[in-house]
């Protein structure tokens, strides 16, 4: 120990200087805010907590079946060769790469599939998919900030985002049945990251950078979004709140229409039935691979106790 003259109490007080790293702190705050805003409406004080997962509200991407759209088979082979030749460090180096970078194929075709493969639990799976989906938006935002976001890349990133967001939603819906809290946490984190990126992109538009591409990118997500509203989708709610709206969905529309918190009971074509002991059932309809499957699954979730 460095200072023999310091008394132990004084020495310990210095630990106050240690705290959550600033960027993590901000991110955590927005996740918590999202979490509180969400459960806050669905749950009433004094009642057992209850929440129903929202599920596949996003329109599945037409590219859903073709997860390798971003790059064609040739680059995949190149990616494999790069990793073999340069060794494992490449895969780490690839982590921060962006579309157009040499190592980007490694990230998308090596790192991410590996992560997916090793995500054994539903929770891990949901987190991995949500992270990948959000990564696509991060990439779009970074490229846009550097003025490198082309229309083609934007389209590909949208497709990839949709695809992974869809998979994330499927996993979150499954997770919601075994662990609603964890499901909500994954969902809140994803929503927070989506919002972060939308804010960043909107800021760029305001600055007048790359306006048309970014505006298109933002609206392509919004178009997908509106498409779903009419096809239905599951939502959440405790009892009579008007918050029957999936978080993902809700926030996108909020931002697009520019008005805050207009819980759109009107927009949700969802059957919610509360029976006498106030359990809530939701008729889920999910859309998979372009086929509309009406699975009136009666998703039934309880969140009593720990």
């Amino acid at each position: 120990m460095t200072n023999p003259h310091l008394n132990p109490e004084e020495f310990l007080k210095r630990a106050k200087g240690v705290g959550i790293p600033a960027h993590e702190k901000a991110r955590m705050r927005s996740t918590l805010s999202e979490y509180a805003g969400h459960t806050g409406e669905a749950v009433r004080v004094g009642e057992p907590e209850r929440l129903i997962s929202r599920s596949s509200r996003l329109v599945p991407s037409p590219y859903y079946r073709y997860p390798f759209t971003l790059l064609k088979p040739m680059p995949i082979a190149i990616a494999a060769i790069i990793v073999v030749v340069l060794g494992g460090g490449t895969s780490y180096a690839a982590q921060g790469s962006l579309p157009g970078d040499i190592l980007y194929p490694v990230k998308v075709h090596v790192n991410e599939p590996v992560e997916e493969t090793f995500a054994f639990s539903t929770n891990a799976r949901a987190q991995v998919e949500a992270n990948i989906a959000a990564d696509r938006l991060d990439e779009a935002a970074k490229l846009a900030a550097q003025g490198r976001l082309s229309t083609t890349t934007a389209t590909e990133l949208t497709a990839e985002f949709e695809s992974h967001a869809h998979q994330a939603h499927v996993s979150v819906a499954a997770l919601a049945e075994e662990n609603p809290r964890a499901a909500l946490a994954v969902d809140s984190a994803l929503t927070a990251r989506i919002n972060e990126n939308k804010t960043a992109l909107n800021a760029l538009v305001t600055e007048g950078k790359n306006v048309s591409v970014i505006t298109n990118f933002l609206s392509s997500i919004a178009v997908q979004d509106q498409g779903v509203t009419t096809t239905g989708g599951a939502t959440i709610t405790g009892s009579d709140t008007g918050s029957a709206e999936g978080v993902l969905q809700g926030n996108m529309r909020e931002e697009d229409s520019g008005n805050t918190h207009s819980p759109s009971a009107s927009s949700s074509s969802v059957g919610i039935h509360a029976n006498s002991n106030s359990d809530v059932k939701v008729a889920t309809s999910s859309v998979t691979g372009g086929v509309h499957v009406g699975t009136s699954s009666g998703l039934h979730l309880n969140l009593d106790g720990e």
């Binding site: 120990m1 460095t2 023999p4 003259h5 310091l6 008394n7 132990p8 109490e9 020495f11 310990l12 007080k13 210095r14 630990a15 106050k16 200087g17 240690v18 705290g19 959550i20 993590e24 702190k25 955590m28 705050r29 996740t31 918590l32 805010s33 979490y35 509180a36 805003g37 459960t39 806050g40 409406e41 749950v43 004080v45 004094g46 009642e47 057992p48 907590e49 090793f118 054994f120 639990s121 891990a124 809290r181 909500l184 946490a185 918190h261």
Partner: protein
């Protein structure tokens, strides 16, 4: 959203602003993996929010939050003792702090103080942190650690003696 609800949410975020760092330090005493520390810090607050929303009594807010954090850390330890491949992979990196070695880059005084605490025997760490870093009363610490106030005072006392011995500071 009703006024009460938005007020409750604001209060909740304020609580996070005030106690977030404290919870983070507290969890760092026991977990070495930084991702896990962040994860549990966040979960502490979501659990706290659930607790509030369920209308359960809060009492001493600060003590409740530390109690939740402590329980989560203990649960994490237990989860580690499973041998399913699944769990092992997920829990990888949750090493108890006994193996904690502060990275050489963390030279800041605060980190040094926290690392010193983390090297102390387990029974002293939390008591000393809560007392001298977070400034809680022995009575509050007792409720967090599930001990009597007396036992807490004894731990604090012995913990300080141990530190003194290690720091080569003569007992006053």
């Amino acid at each position: 959203m009703s006024k009460e609800e938005s007020h409750a949410q604001e209060r909740f975020l304020e609580t996070y602003d005030t106690l977030g760092d404290s919870v983070y330090r507290f969890i760092r005493l026991r977990l070495a993996d930084h991702e896990a520390v962040l994860d549990l810090t966040q979960e502490t607050f979501t659990r706290y929010w659930d607790h509030v929303r369920e209308g359960k009594p809060v009492g001493n807010e600060c003590a409740l939050i530390f109690t939740i954090a402590r329980r989560l850390v203990i649960d994490r330890y237990r989860a580690k003792r499973t041998d399913s491949l699944d769990e092992l992979r997920e829990e990888e990196g949750f090493d108890p702090v006994d193996e904690y070695e502060p990275p050489p880059s963390l030279k800041a005084e605060g980190e040094e103080a926290l690392a010193t605490l983390a090297e102390l025997p387990e029974e002293y760490r939390e008591a000393l942190l809560l007392r001298f870093v977070e400034g809680l009363e022995p009575r509050e610490i007792a409720s967090i650690l599930g001990l009597s106030a007396n036992a807490v005072s004894v731990r604090i006392h012995r913990g300080i003696d141990t530190m003194r011995a290690r720091m080569h500071v003569p007992t006053p």
